[in-house]
Amino acid sequence: MTSDVINLTLKDQLRVLVRLLKYTLPFKGLLALAFSMLIISTVMGVLTPYLVMIFIDNYLTPSVFPEDEIMMLIIAFIIVNVLAVVTTYWQIYLLQRLAFKVIQQLRIDAFRKIGMLGMTYFDKVPSGSVVSRLTNDTQAIVDMFTSVLGTFLMAIFMVISSFVMMFILDVKLAFIALIFMPVIVMILLVYRKYSARYFSHARSLLSDMNAKLAESIEGMKIVQVFNQEKRLQREFEVINEEHYQYNLRTIKLDGLLLRPAIDMIYILSIILILSYFGFLSFETSVTAGVIFAFIQYMERFFEPINQVSQNLNIFQQALVAASRVFTLLDDTRHEPAQLNDEQYKITDGRVEFKDVTFSYDGNVDVLKNISFEVPPGTTTALVGHTGSGKSSIINLMMRFYEYERGDILIDGHSIKELPKEEMKKNIGLVLQDPFIFYGTLTSNIKLYHSTMTFEMVEEAAKFVGADGFINKLPHQFDQKVVEKGADFSSGERQLLAFARTMATNPKILILDEATANIDSSTEEKIQESLMKMRSGRTTLAIAHRLSTIQDADEILVLNKGEIVERGTHDELVQLKGIYYKMYRLQNSKQ
């Protein structure tokens, strides 16, 4: 629940609208077709009163009905209306189609953008608000395209065509009727100004209220145990009441300036037409058909304005939503760029850190002059307390964050220059908190790998020892996995993550050992498979349990961003420094 209340200025709104409309450009054909349908349907729409006028003035008033001329008129009436009906349908449908095409593109662009953004972005922006950019905000834009832009376009066409017809019927009266234009525009501008203010305030109150509600639901246990229900209810009531007050203001504003006002002006326009023709009739002859047609056109002029004014809020809401989507699209916190030098390949898997110094925020260095080498096929373990810099080393190695000072090399090539493809293919990371996707066990191990067969999935599961628990499941590898794999123990999730990584058979393995409590029988399995996974692979491992990395070829002890001890297990024990103390600590039974 984030209440990003944005108040856009008129200029911003215009900019957002133009950018949004640019998305329609790739669909020129569709756009042209929709427009021609719109034009035909509008023209047909204004022809009907004209035909009726001809009938009234030329035939009904003088009471002469020549059969073939009347027949012609009837046929014309039928053609005009059939055309109007058909083109109206297609114009509405095509505009909706266009809207969905545009949104589709916008969604894809936004999703692609998500893939390009770096972890610096995801660290800062709550995932809930990213999700609503992609779904709710884009949906709001759909509403705008379908209900607002369509209405706007139709309104513009209808207003113009009605006026054109009025000018054809009576230039003088049409000119006089033009005075309603500025009045209506002014009403709408005043409305827009206040409604935007009330509306955005009411929305932000609603979002506050929902946030409060959601938080209360999550923390209800605390609320209840501290007997604070009444107070929270009171606080909720305050926002609830204020929200209501703002809604009431919106209702009043709508009542003052929207349909009631527009309809009043419509009646005033009828007074104008009747008086004009009434007084005119004292001098020259005035026909009933013209009055009839004029009133019809006047009505056609007002109806779309009513519709537009009722949709103004959706329009503004959609522009705010669009501006939020565009803000996401314009975000520059990209993931580190790769130079992608295609000739560089990862062959042996030699990893080298050369004097790497790194800071997340530009102020505090979390890594200071880190240098070490992992020869192919060997294991280097990183140990140290929380905040010692272990995870930062892995974050840099995985290109989650960009570094400026020092360099990291694989087989002699800077990881900034290696092709992305090559990196992903050859480096396998096992995250501390294994993320399990919705789907089946197979889909969780395979992910999007295009050539992986089921045998390979099975083999990987077997290799890491996950086959044991998988085979006990009723549907085995096809077992459905619920949200975040909640049905599995953390140890089982860990094994699945292992299998996922091992299925791609990477040359370099990055392990971030789980700190979570894992039941001891699974724990054993995990240790066993870690051992197997490491053998023959260049491994960089963060270890929380020193017992798991005793056989590592080199152990680096980190403290406050620096390597303070390094060597094999035996050497470090001999040294009787930090490692030795950590080791003794962990060896003491829990």
Binding site: I74, F77, A84, T88, I92, F100, Q104, G115, P126, S127, V130, V131, T135, T146, L213, E215, I217, E218, M220, K221, I222, Q224, V225, F226, N227, Q228, E229, R231, L232, Q233, E237, N240, I251, K252, G255, L256, M264, I271, L274, S275, G278, F279, S281, V286, A288, I291, F292, E299, K424, L429, L431, L447, Y448, S450, G561, E562, V564, I578, L585, S588
Partner: protein
Amino acid sequence: MRVFKNLGWFFKLEKKSYITGLVMLILVALMELVPPQVIGRVIDRITTDTLTSNSLVLFGVLLLFVAILTYIFRFFWRVMIFGASNRLGRTLRKQLFEKYSSMSPAFFGKRRTGDLMAHATNDINAVQMTAGAGILTIADSVITGGAVLVTMALTVSPKLTLIAMIPFPFMVILTSWYGSILSRLFRVAQAAFSSLNDKTQESIAGIKVTKTFGYEDEDLKDFTNLSDDVVKKNLKVAKIDALFDPTITAIIAISYFLSIFFGARMVVADEISLGQLVTFTTYLGMMVWPLLALGWFFNLIERGKASYDRIDEIMNTKSDIGNTVTTDSVPSGDITFDISEFVFPGEDEVSLRDIHFTLREGETLGIVGRTGSGKSSIIRLLLREFDTSGSNTVSINGTDIKQYDIKKLRRLFGYVPQDNFLFSSTIRNNIAFTNPEINTASVHRAADLSYIHHDIENFPEGYETVVGERGVSLSGGQKQRISIARALISDPEILILDDSLSAVDAETETAILRNIEQNRAGKTNIITAHRMSAVRNADLILVMENGRIVERGTHDSLTGARGWYYDTFKAQSLRRNLTKELDETLEGGGE
């Protein structure tokens, strides 16, 4: 229609608003009848050359009068009816919030936050629409539709009215048919959208995995497929949705044709005047909206009914924490657990077995054991998150806690939960949760006792620092200590620390426990912990395993017994010393 019956209580409450609103609507409908009549009369007078400037002015004044009155009536019915429906939204929101706050953890365990939120947002919206737009549409259909129809028949011709109305039933049939197809297609489209939503949510939560494997493009493809599906299903909706306008256009055209064709004959036959025919066609246009409104009305109340039922279901759910108050007295005294077996509702396995002990008032109880051994279950029963049944009882001063007023019971406790839930507010507000008006000195004192004061002072905004999703992120230890301060501030009769010292280091733990001991003389404390050091000074220590008490006694007696407690205590002491040594070395290094 049943939904209106269900909402009867509200309509009764807002009788005045609704009656005034409806009267206004009737007046608007009557006013709307005037302009077509005037138009017809003016045309008639022009064509028969009987128009005078006097009558023209009179007609103008009449219309002006109508225009102003319509404006006023239109404004007021909106305020009356929409105002009332907004009050309904407000009331329901309030009731639902109160309901939620009265429900037990079992209720929240069974339902997802998202669903509970949906009741408070979408469902309330739908009900509010029923009471606002729903009332409006039915009133408009009946009043405006009826008035126009009657006027057409009375002032022009009943025969012509009948003829002109022939196509209209088809409009009602067709549009409601589209409506039913549409609501089915719309549900399908909505489901597609919600899978897209789920997909997006998951992709963002698992972004690190995707990036690690370099599957951004494949994930995009998957997203694109789902998004295509959304478009496809929405276009199906659009195909039907686009039928409404042309259908209405067609029906009106036919009706127009009929009325002019037959109307013209009547004009020629001198049955009606030309002006009356124009009046008639103008009225015809006014019939469209009431008929459409009828279709919308059924749609609206259908949605409103479903939503009302969902809200009603929640409102009628009884909290499974029974209300069996038999005494007004404020609970105090010894706490006694007498449980031979307890199973959490909805679970198969027995969580607690043979839990029998008494904690004397003013003493400290320590509960230790592995994760899942049943430590927290004891706390949950004491807090009445769940109720015992049968001969299993938890009692204070010999009275089953179920018989005390739950508010009075809860007032005894200062509870520090395992998960350290903090609210998105300032640190001060979080600590002063039980009493926002409490003075700053007390807030500081509580923070001091829980060893967090210093940390807070070091934040840029001190006690005004906002925590939670929109604020700074705190370490687990900081959260724990703020939670402890929140519990300590009210100086509760019974302080409960449910594994709440796990994320603080050994020294802080010792200091906090010492503070508690020194400042809570004569008050009861219950401490569950993984570390034996946390319960060392307790008057009674229970060692739990698989829901049973396996060892009990004081630190000295348990140490003497040389059981699990002793082994664990010894191992942990050793670790503690080693940790201290290591920390000192680590602190010495670095800078």
